[in-house]
Symmetry: C2
Subunit: 176 residues, 2 copies
């Protein structure tokens, strides 16, 4: 066999840098192949289809997001630190963040949930309440990012201030 110069991770990395530099919609078989100086059908020797490539991208992008967020739980304000890092990652790398969304079940999807759980640790919530709180906080972060990138909060009120206030509301709500 011709030496497998082309690995799954090489394809995934190329697709990710495509998403990062030219947006998630630029992730096409044709563009990936062009970047690798091969023809599109060759990609099918390594992945079943585009969807499978996007799954692999999601896993890798989630790892990047995880690595960026890791450590924020050891600060004085874990939830605020996590929120700021999360929003900053998504705003700075919209293509990467978009890549991370499709996969909901991999190794790093769980790791990200654990990271949110760690940030909520101080509030000593019981099982069910913890799950509700995780869902709520994660929803808030994703919604904040998603509304902002797709629709955009129109008013010229500072985004950072909104995030701080909103995390404050959530934290006070957990306390009482």
């Amino acid at each position: 066999m011709p030496r497998m110069q082309l690995t799954k991770t090489a394809i995934t990395d190329t697709a990710l840098s495509l998403a990062d530099q030219h947006g998630y919609e630029a992730v096409t078989m044709a563009n990936i192949a062009r970047s690798l100086t091969i023809k599109p059908p060759s990609l099918y020797n390594h992945f079943k289809n585009l969807e499978e490539i996007k799954q692999a991208m999601a896993e890798a992008a989630q790892k990047q997001l995880y690595d960026t967020l890791k450590g924020t739980e050891q600060t004085s304000q874990p939830m605020l630190s996590l929120a700021k890092a999360y929003v900053n990652f998504a705003s700075s790398n919209p293509g990467l963040y978009a890549s991370s969304l499709p996969g909901g079940n991999g190794e790093y999807a769980n790791a990200l949930v654990r990271l949110v759980a760690d940030a909520l640790q101080a509030y000593k919530l019981e099982n069910e309440k913890m799950i509700h709180a995780i869902r709520g906080f994660r929803s808030m972060l994703h919604g904040f990012v998603d509304l902002n990138t797709h629709a955009g909060f129109k008013l010229e009120v500072d985004l950072e201030a909104s995030l701080e206030e909103v995390v404050g509301i959530f934290e006070r709500g957990l306390q009482s």
Copy 2:
């Protein structure tokens, strides 16, 4: 001229029912034209391109969402009622909800923001704080819906219970 049997709203409505019945990804020039028993290029006599059709869809879908949510502010628990109605609309009509997202600036986009503001009315927030709270609550609702339909909260913990708890956290946070 051949009688304009085909109006902008007729096209928009057809596209919306396509999104509702077969998903937002089924909204293509070919499918819209097929539903109307015309050929795709004819659509360009009424809209500049597909994006413009989707903008019109967003406006109409936002109106439907607004009409569904209107009235919830006159209940005993406006925020919870609004949240439940919002999540219910999005889960029951995912194609319609997806259609509503692209447009961030129309008449009904503002009406929806006012609806959220009304639900927060009881907390008597000042200007800036009100805007932060609106953004936070809207983010939570959209994030909740979006994570659920695209990734899906995996654990078999009741969604309705999560929503109630999460709205409760937010309300308590506003109080203190």
